[in-house]
């Protein structure tokens, strides 16, 4: 039990560049073999990526610049340049959806980090039965998201749901704008805080004891030790959790699709739902493709910015 959670950190993106020295074997033939080996090792991945990722994405880019309308055949559009992007960025619904998604992402990720970290600190205590708690508290993370969302829909049902019974108030959680947004976000936090918790716990368990002991000897109280010693040491773990959760919350779909469908009055119309509507309900694949490209670019820029920022800080400190 001691080190199992340490595994979690192993699948984090490695920010440090991989060591890439030339292999020590000399000779032209061996070098040729080196290159062939690398080529053989990488090409299946490259090919798969091209097939399942490159081609569809390229086609999606093509669609996003086409004037494709619902009564045409799939390849029958005509070049429209950036018209779809212009249509998108002048659609107040899209702009609202974008703002909403950014806010939703920020708040759910913050809540997941706080809750996850708090749970991790508790689980790091040296208590009896802690192994049981460690196992039990990560169960929501394993659940199929669409099933978790269905469960919450039933729990929040205004007529027969247990939540309204327990709080003694007939609140129509999924029928009012703010409560719907909160419910959808809560379902996600409930499910994903354990993920943050696992990462943070892995971090906590790998912390060196010496700085904490030194701080204790210097007379720092628990809060000071946490703030000045533990938290800075946990930073890399938390940053990775932040990055991964932000990517996933930004494209949240399953919980909204099941619980609210984007309503009421567009209160939960996140970008992925907007894109889904554009592609599958309006059948405007051009608009849908443009929307997904905007999403992709935002995610990309945010991630690169984030990684660059961390790199900068790391080199400075």
């Amino acid at each position: 039990m001691q080190r199992d959670l340490g595994a979690a950190v192993r699948y984090l993106p490695v920010t440090s560049p991989a060591a890439g020295t030339t292999p020590p074997v000399a000779g032209p033939f061996a070098r040729w073999l080196d290159r062939a080996f690398v080529w053989l090792a990488v090409s299946p991945t490259a090919l798969t990526m091209l097939l399942v990722f490159g081609l569809p994405l390229g086609f999606s880019l093509y669609l996003s610049t086409e004037g494709w309308s619902p009564d045409e055949t799939l390849f029958g559009g005509q070049f429209a340049g950036l018209a779809n992007y212009a249509a998108l960025l002048t659609d107040p619904n899209f702009i609202d959806s974008l703002t909403l998604t950014l806010g939703y992402t920020a708040i759910t990720v913050a809540a997941e980090l706080l809750l996850g970290l708090a749970v991790a600190l508790l689980l790091n205590l040296n208590l009896k039965l802690i192994g049981f708690f460690r196992t039990a508290l990560i169960v929501p993370m394993m659940m199929t998201p669409i099933v978790a969302a269905l469960c919450w829909k039933l729990l929040l049902d205004p007529d027969h749901g247990i939540v309204d019974y327990l709080i003694g108030q007939p609140i129509i959680w999924l029928g009012q704008p703010w409560t719907a947004l909160i419910s959808v976000g809560f379902a996600s936090v409930w499910q994903n805080a354990p993920f943050v918790c696992i990462l943070a716990l892995a971090g906590l368990r790998s912390l060196p004891h010496e700085p904490l002991e030194a701080a204790a000897i210097d007379g720092a109280n628990a809060l000071q030790r946490f703030w000045h010693v533990t938290l800075p040491l946990l930073r890399p773990y938390l940053l990775v959790a932040l990055l991964l959760r932000a990517i996933f919350e930004f494209r949240a779909f399953d919980n909204v699709y099941v619980m609210t469908g984007g309503g009421p009055a567009n209160a939960t119309l996140l970008l992925s739902v907007y894109t889904y509507q554009a592609s599958f309900i309006q059948f405007d694949l051009s608009l849908g493709s443009a929307a997904s490209w905007v999403m992709l670019l935002i995610a990309l820029v945010a991630c690169l910015g984030f990684v660059a920022l961390i790199g900068q800080r790391e080199t400075r400190s």
Binding site: E72, G261, P264
Partner: protein, 438 residues
């Protein structure tokens, strides 16, 4: 087009039936096509397929040796699948199940079913195309081309719990004022758990089905797909939404849980006695009135949607599913054979017992149906004045803004006028875009 579609194929049918009448002894036409092992059916996964999947298909396989391979998808996925397969695919689908609102883009990929009916008339002399409700014949026809045979028809009618209305001392409403009075009386009587009305008001495909009968009965319209003229923010439509919204926000006679109800929600709400009245899909009468699954089983009665001032203004929508044979299939004859079997009098009669709402007059007026499925004749009556839902290519995009508007009005965020003005704005914009694109 001077010749109406109906005229066109009636004439063909006439010729065909003459031919059939002239010689019932005519041998079955030799199959031009080889016999396939299976036919691929693509449709949605609504639970009304029981008859089709469990009974018609096995019977078809028994008599012809051809298996029906059902691909039943969630509705959004079905749209994407058909769109891609029909326009870019290689004829992998033999039988297409399409919704009335898809006609605008599905029709061009379908065969001319008037011709298919004509060709097969001698084989099935008792098929009787005229037995289908005229409005439903129109539903299967687009731009003059009959593009499928209707299998299921849905329309909005008024559901009410008979005894509750009697206890409250009100008659089944025939106009908006009476509807409001009945809703107020039954709400008062049923408080706190049961309200007068229930809507399907979760933001999604169901909410327009809930609102449209009010719109039609108030004399309102969405827009004219030909001219692009927009009616949704004109007084009749605004009045309809105002009344609809007031039932929720001003008079508090609509169950607020409606805001989370879709198709399944309204049934569950009815079964759990959450409202005394609702305007919803006629075939839901089956599940709501079944004592085995419903607390309110046996309590329901039905009538046409009330008109704004009187019952003669009653309007509602007409929607439903067609079974059709696409242009690209290699098995036209066999596929159509299956379609005709599924839509034959006998199988349609059977299907109503298994949750379908078949559009044949002979079924809807069958005495045994009247007693077993009492909502059916009301549906048949309502269909006479029902207006076909939008099915022009613009509708796919145009249906989204009114969903938001209804939601906003039911939440009290906007007045009906403000919300519908916004819809009109968005439509202006998207119609212009569509024009630019096309």
């Amino acid at each position: 087009m001077p010749t109406t579609p109906h005229g066109l194929f009636r004439r063909q049918l006439l010729q065909a039936s003459l031919a059939a009448g002239a010689g019932t002894a005519i041998a079955r036409p030799a199959r031009a096509q080889g016999k396939p092992e299976k036919l691929v059916y693509v449709g949605d996964n609504g639970p009304w397929h029981t008859c089709l999947v469990n009974e018609v298909a096995p019977a078809f396989e028994k008599s012809t040796g051809i298996k029906i391979d059902f691909t039943l998808l969630p509705i959004d996925a079905l749209g994407a699948r058909l769109k891609a397969e029909l326009s870019a695919g290689e004829g992998g689908i033999d039988i297409v199940q399409w919704d009335a609102s898809m006609a605008g883009w599905v029709s061009r990929h379908m065969q001319d079913h008037a011709k298919l009916l004509g060709d097969a008339a001698s084989k099935h002399p008792d098929f009787e195309w005229a037995d289908f409700l005229p409005a439903v014949q129109g539903m299967a026809t687009y731009d003059g081309k009959l593009s499928g045979i209707p299998y299921r028809v849905t329309t909005g009618i008024l559901f009410y719990q008979k005894q509750l209305l009697e206890q409250a001392g009100v008659k089944p409403p025939t106009n908006f004022a009476e509807l409001l009075a009945a809703a107020q009386a039954t709400t008062k009587q049923g408080a706190p758990g049961r309200y007068g009305m229930g809507f399907m008001a979760r933001q999604g495909p169901a909410m327009l089905g809930s609102f449209t009968p009010f719109l039609r009965s108030a004399g309102g319209h969405y827009y004219d797909p030909k001219s692009g003229e927009i009616f949704i923010n004109q007084p009749a439509a605004v009045g309809a939404l105002e009344f609809y919204g007031d039932l929720m926000t001003k008079y508090h006679v609509t169950n607020p849980a409606s805001l989370t109800w879709e198709f399944d929600g309204i049934i569950a709400g009815g079964q759990a006695d959450q409202f005394a009245m609702s305007v919803t899909l006629a075939p839901y009468g089956e599940a709501m009135n079944d004592p085995k699954v419903s607390k309110t089983g046996g309590a329901w009665a039905w009538s046409k949607m009330p008109g704004r001032d009187n019952i003669s203004q009653s309007g509602t929508y007409l929607a439903g599913w067609m079974l059709g044979v696409p242009e690209k299939t290699k098995n036209t004859e066999w596929a159509f054979e299956f379609v005709q079997m599924a839509t034959s009098k006998q199988w349609m009669r059977r299907s109503i017992d298994l949750g379908n709402a078949p559009p044949r007059v002979s079924v809807l007026q069958d005495p045994s149906v009247l007693t077993k499925h009492p909502w059916a004749p009301v549906a048949g009556e309502a269909l006479k004045t029902a207006t076909l839902d939008h099915r022009d290519p613009l509708w796919a995009a145009a249906q989204l803004p009114p969903r938001v508007a209804i939601s906003q009005v039911l939440l009290g965020q906007k007045t009906a006028q403000q919300a519908l003005d916004e819809v009109a704005n968005q439509w202006h914009r998207s119609f212009k875009l569509a024009g630019l694109k096309g």
